[in-house]
């Protein structure tokens, strides 16, 4: 009886081992939705400016990068800069080929570097454009931006909505001098600006309207009131180095037709976007106008270098 069991067990073990060897030789099929791209010597490098929920965003961008890798037939690397300046330096010093930038940083890139606009992102939460808003709590006695004189306002550095727009608006209202100047409390993200306002640390907040809308949806019990709103500007703009025109065209081509395929739509969904849409320089006119409004106060933004000017020399309307 034992001999019979021993023989059976030995046979079973041999069969399992053989099966394992066969499986190992054939290799398991990847269960990832996107196949592994082939290895080339020079990967496409996408520069990213850190955004809120940086790890989750990076994971989502990685999914998009893997899709691009398959479509372009070359590996794609993400190069996340510690600051917007690092991302611009990477483009300048050829450490990245393509970058995803905000409106203000895109204008800086156009002005300081030789970049080509590829497309903008139509986000699930926010669309392909956004506006800067200055808002207060619903119960706040403040009803106008001018009443923010001497008050505390949360702002986000080096962003159009959280920095350029409110400062330009204050300058337009001549509120930036003396005791009239609102006291700026710098926070890390647009969400931090809302939180600072809701908990009473500041009287107002300057942020993106898309983040405001998301926050109000997630916190229906708390109402906020918008005091001022900027013009719409593009969201999450893809740019490429001009010396890589063909690469830029390939990337743009892939991104712009993603929503026409099932696989592309699945990747877009996981990335958090509806589609990528074409973009024109004209869409940045509101940004240039705000910069013009800054005038000499541009230095107060803490952005290195002179204020960008409309390309071609003529002023932005």
């Amino acid at each position: 009886m034992r001999t019979k069991w021993t023989i059976l067990t030995s046979i079973a073990l041999v069969l399992v081992l053989a099966l394992l060897v066969i499986l190992e030789r054939n290799g398991g099929e990847s269960v990832a939705s996107v196949p592994t791209p082939p290895t080339y010597k020079d990967p496409l490098r996408i520069g990213l400016v850190p955004d809120r929920e940086i790890i989750a965003n990076r994971q989502r961008t990685r999914i998009l990068a893997d899709y691009l890798a398959v479509q372009l037939g070359r590996p794609v690397e993400l190069v996340t800069g510690a600051s917007y300046q690092t991302v611009l330096d990477d483009l300048r010093e050829n450490r990245s080929d393509v970058a995803v930038l905000g409106s203000l940083i895109t204008v800086l890139a156009i002005d300081r570097l030789d970049v080509r606009l590829l497309c903008k992102t139509d986000l699930v939460n926010g669309g392909s454009t956004y506006a800067g808003v200055i808002c207060v709590r619903e119960e706040s006695p403040i009803s106008d931006v001018s009443e923010l004189a001497g008050r505390r306002i949360a702002m986000v550095r080096t962003t159009l909505a959280g920095n350029l727009f409110p400062v330009a608006d204050f300058l337009r209202r001549e509120m930036m001098e003396g005791d009239n100047a609102p006291k700026i409390v710098w926070v890390g993200t647009h969400d931090d600006a809302i939180l600072a306002m809701v908990d009473g640390s500041v009287d107002a907040a300057a942020l993106k309207d898309a983040r405001l809308d998301v926050w109000m949806r997630e916190n229906p019990g708390k109402r906020l009131r918008v005091l001022a709103r900027s013009l719409e500007v593009p969201e999450s703009i893809w740019v490429a180095r001009s010396d890589l025109a063909d690469v830029g065209e390939q990337v743009a081509s892939v991104l712009l037709r993603m929503d026409s395929t099932t696989e592309g739509r699945q990747v877009l969904s996981r990335y958090g976007a509806i589609r990528f849409v074409p973009i024109e320089l004209d869409e940045f006119r509101p940004v240039y106008r705000l910069i013009e409004q800054m005038g000499e106060a541009w230095d107060k933004l803490g952005i290195a270098g002179p204020a960008p000017k409309w390309p071609g020399g003529s002023e932005a309307d």
Binding site: R52, I54, S83, W186, T189
Partner: protein, 352 residues
């Protein structure tokens, strides 16, 4: 019957030994499996804790380098941060860290993770140097707290591994002791059983051998009394039957001899009486002749001897032969009429 008995007894002994061996193998296998399990679990836990600790150390280095401006990209830092989440998830799933106090430390570690990720998100997105520094410090503080929890977990893992190994060693010691005692008992029982079994065979063999020897010596009254209802009992019964027949045959021979002796006694006595009478008359006739007296005395002695011989023939108890001439054997009268040593007249036949 005997075969069945022997099979039953020996089979029981073999089964007992086999059962003991199987039980020993199972117990030791179980112990080895537990040892493997403990070792694998412990090694897995130690490795997980070590990996997590290394990742956090790497993150701390990245944070310091970011603070000092030596690092301008966040990819490696963010990869390490993601790995921390993954490793802490694996640590949480580790069964040996489920009970207290490890669970409390795991909880403390996991409570720091959202703080840590919030700070690194803020650190990464903040373009304000002051805020960046502030969040960097906060992230470092979170990593210090995480490291503290990991160190505590590491100590707990080491202690657990040590305790489990000690428990296993103790268990192993008890198993070995138990098995040794059990095997001693089983072996002793087996020896006793085998001795009993041997006795079951040898005792009747001995008795049959002694009885056969006695039978060979002519003691046909020998019997073997065995109460066993097996082949030995049958053999004893057959032996007794044989002895009875031999004894009966011997008795018949003796009876025949006695009858012959009586016949001789009867026939010879008359002749011898006449010869004695004639001798007596002759003695009276030839009185005073020396040589003739001697011859007459010898004749008388011979007659007496003949009478004794015939008388002895009547008292033959067994037939004992002795060599005669020409390869012939004759009755050894002296031994044939001798008593058994220690036997009293009229004693019952001896039984073996």
């Amino acid at each position: 019957m005997l075969r069945r008995k022997l099979l039953t007894i020996l089979g029981s002994v073999v089964l007992l030994l086999l059962g003991m061996a199987i039980a020993a193998v199972f117990m030791l296998q179980g112990l080895l499996a537990d040892l493997h399990h403990v070792r694998d679990q412990s090694m897995t836990s130690v490795e997980q804790v070590s990996q997590l600790s290394s990742k956090i150390a790497r993150i701390q280095i990245d944070l310091y380098r970011l603070q000092l401006g030596q690092e301008r990209h966040l990819d490696a830092f963010l990869d390490n941060a993601q790995d921390v989440q993954r490793l802490s998830d694996r640590l949480s799933e580790n069964d040996i860290l489920s009970p207290e106090p490890a669970a409390a430390q795991i909880q403390a570690l996991r409570e720091q993770l959202p703080v840590f990720y919030r700070q690194i998100s803020a650190l990464a997105t903040s373009q304000d140097p002051g805020l960046t520094w502030q969040h960097n410090q906060a992230a470092l503080a979170a990593t210090v707290n995480m490291n503290e929890a990991i160190l505590n977990i590491s100590a707990i893992v080491s202690r657990n591994a040590h305790d489990e190994q000690t428990a296993l060693i103790g268990r192993f010691r008890w198993i070995v002791l138990g098995l040794a005692i059990a095997f001693l008992i089983v072996i002793n029982v087996s020896i006793l059983v085998l001795l009993r079994t041997a006795d079951m065979v040898l005792r009747p063999v001995d008795r049959l051998t002694q009885a056969s020897r006695a039978l060979g010596e002519g003691r046909f009254e020998t019997r073997v009394m065995l109460d066993q209802g097996d082949e030995f009992g049958e053999l004893a019964a057959s032996f007794n039957t044989l002895a009875e027949r031999l004894q009966a045959s011997e008795e018949r021979k003796l009876e025949t001899l006695r009858q012959v002796a009586l016949t001789l006694n009867h026939e010879l006595n008359n002749a011898m009486a006449i010869i004695e009478l004639q001798l007596d008359l002759l003695k009276r006739t030839v009185k005073g002749a020396e040589g003739q007296d001697k011859y007459l005395r010898q004749i008388g002695e011979s007659l007496k001897r003949m009478s004794q011989t015939v008388d002895a023939l009547k008292r033959v108890r067994r037939i004992v032969l002795t060599d005669y001439v020409g390869g012939l054997q004759m009755l050894d009268l002296e031994r044939s009429v001798a008593d058994e040593p220690g036997e009293k007249p009229g004693q019952v036949s001896p039984q073996v």
